[in-house]
Amino acid sequence: MRVYSRGVTNSGVSAAPDPVARSGLSAARLREIYRLMALARALDERAWILNRSGRVHFVISAQGHEGAEAGICAALTPGRDWLLPYYRSLAAVLAFGMTPREVMLLQFGKADDPGSGGRQMPAHYGGAAYRIFSGSSPVGTQALHAAGIALAARLRGEAQVATVMMGEGAANQGDVHEALNFAGIHHLPMVLVVENNGYAISVPAEKQVAVRDVAIRAAGYSMPGVIVDGTDVLGCYLAMRDAVARALAGDGPTLIEAKVTRLTGHSSDDQQTKYRTEDDLAAGRGRDPLPAFRDELRAAGLLDAAAEAQIAAEVRGLVDDATDFAEAAADPDPATLLRHVYAEPGVPGAAPGPPGGAPG
């Protein structure tokens, strides 16, 4: 099992603390990653406000997970690669191109929500235009879809990586085992990202996972298992960069476990003080990736007060705009209740993959 942590590069030697040198990413790109995290956080916080003021029914939060997701997605190529997100993948779907307005349309359940037209619960992302595969609620199922997507890419000889995200609780589902086994057998271009926040709703990791590190399971499927610190955004990026290279080289899948923290209750219906101690919660707050990454950029002189303020303003503007836009948008027409149960003439309803490609 490999561990990517601060001060350790990809090749194992001690690294300069400079983020640009460590990651090979430009200062502008690093600021972009920070901006993405800040945007995800702001959208998420707004959703809670909307919920507490009775304007949306339900929120399920990405707070604490943004660092891992932003780092990981920085190694992917939207348009080429596939994302199979879960309900905490807000930063990832933004990285894949989903707009704040689109996120809010889903949050409000509006007709123009691009993934489901207001049919899905908030945070159940999907977007054919972005190669974000539509997800369900039953956890873990999407691991198999990722394997299938990767299989199709491989059969056509197309360079595509299927990245699937889920919690450590979900990773115990039989489907995930079966997906890793299949991907391992066929050396599929797939990466499983397990965002281990230590809880499945109220159940602590010790009661849901028989091991401390889910990544150890990778060995059981002939693939590398990698542990990354979810507050170390660039560590996440580096781990994923290697996984993507491996996938594209035909060497097969990788399992990346990001140790993250869940800063909120499981969802707007959950009161986490019932089952978590104040110490535990405080420790979690200490592992917030957003200030960690901000400080990292600041310390390296990559983010000054002006840039920070500009990003903050921009983000606020985007969130305000998205909220207003989505709140004012039209509700789905009840007459559409029975549309798209089956294919309708004239509606393609196919994924963006080349439908007529010639495999084999």
């Binding site: 207001g118 609620s137 039953p138 589902q173 109220s202 849901q208 509700d331 789905p332 559409t336």
Partner: protein
């Protein structure tokens, strides 16, 4: 008698059975400290501890399969599936294993497992927190399927389910958890599985329902009563085994039958009731056996406008009563 919400009645039923019988255990996701996402098991962990109240991994097949094994070795597990929508990973264990163990072992092994699950829509649960799943299980010999509609029945039927030597799927319409309340005796009582009950007597037509729909049916029946339509409302309570006698006796009296459920109509449980009535009460029928059920949508959409369009309401039921009564 105390007044209890539906969920309180279930919680008390669990607690009382755990106190009465030390082989009863509770397992499922978040059933421990949190007390379940709907608080059905609240307080049990504090009273009975880690050994008998088990927070399981997020793996439904495991929840069912471990329950089966534990039952084979002397326990009486009560498993919670957090939402009925998430019971599908456990289908193999429930249908191929739980339902067939007694049969395949020629009666030498049993499977006294109760599987509780909240089902049903109307709480903005969207596609995957709203489903009705009763038809899948009602079809399976070897299973019993219970769907209570009152606090009294919830507690009494749950106790019977836990004591039953065979696997019972116990479905609780989640919209009733806090909205339904009723009297529940303080002491020991049970309600037998497999017996329907007539909730309202009437002469003009028979309305067959279960779960939340019983309340809507009673509401609808009250509305149309003012128009001179006297509706008999039968609450099935257990849908497998079905109390055919009570159903048929009522339809033979009224000559008309309306079946109502929230699940989609095609191949839904209402089809069985309708088919039974059409075959066994044919000579008494003076109108078509009619079903009012959910639309043929794969699930309940999130947006209120769509969810409302999906749902059965007392108004829709009243409309169906009027149409059938006028036949």
């Amino acid at each position: 008698m105390a007044v209890r919400t539906f969920i309180e009645a279930i919680r008390e039923g669990l607690r009382d059975e755990m106190r009465r019988d030390s082989t009863v255990i509770v397992l499922g996701e978040d059933v421990g400290k949190k007390g379940g996402v709907f608080f059905a098991t609240d307080g049990l962990w504090a009273e009975f501890g880690d050994g008998r109240v088990i927070d399981t991994p997020l793996t439904e097949s495991m929840i069912a399969g471990v329950s089966i094994g534990a039952a084979a070795n002397g326990l009486r597990p009560v498993a919670e599936i957090q939402f009925a929508d998430f019971i599908f990973p456990a289908m193999n264990q429930i249908i191929e294993e739980a339902a067939r163990i007694r049969y395949r072992s020629n009666g030498t092994f049993g499977c006294p497992v109760t599987i509780r699950a909240p089902f049903g829509a109307g709480v903005h649960g969207a596609l995957y927190h709203s489903q009705s799943v009763e038809a899948f299980f009602a079809h399976v010999p070897g299973l019993k399927v219970v769907i209570p509609s009152t606090s009294y029945d919830a507690k009494g039927l749950l106790r019977s389910a836990i004591r039953d030597p065979d696997p019972v799927i116990f479905l609780e319409h989640k919209k009733m958890y806090r909205s339904v309340r009723g009297e529940v005796p303080d002491g020991e009582y049970t309600v037998p599985l497999g017996r329907a009950t007539v909730m309202r007597e009437g002469s003009r037509l028979t309305l067959i329902a279960y779960g939340l729909m019983v309340h809507y049916a009673l509401d609808a029946a009250a509305r149309v009563a003012g128009e001179g339509i006297e509706t008999e409302v039968v609450d099935l309570r257990t849908i497998r085994p079905l109390d055919a006698e009570t159903v048929l006796a009522s339809v033979r009296k009224t000559g008309k039958c309306l079946v109502v459920h929230e699940d989609n109509r095609f191949g839904g449980f209402g089809a069985e009731v309708a088919a039974l009535v059409a075959e066994e009460a044919f000579d008494y029928l003076d109108g078509p056996v009619t079903r009012l059920a959910g639309p043929e949508s794969p699930a309940v959409p999130y947006a209120s406008a769509l969810e409302d369009a999906f749902l059965i309401t007392p108004e829709k039921i009243a409309g169906a009563i009027r149409t059938l009564a006028a036949y």
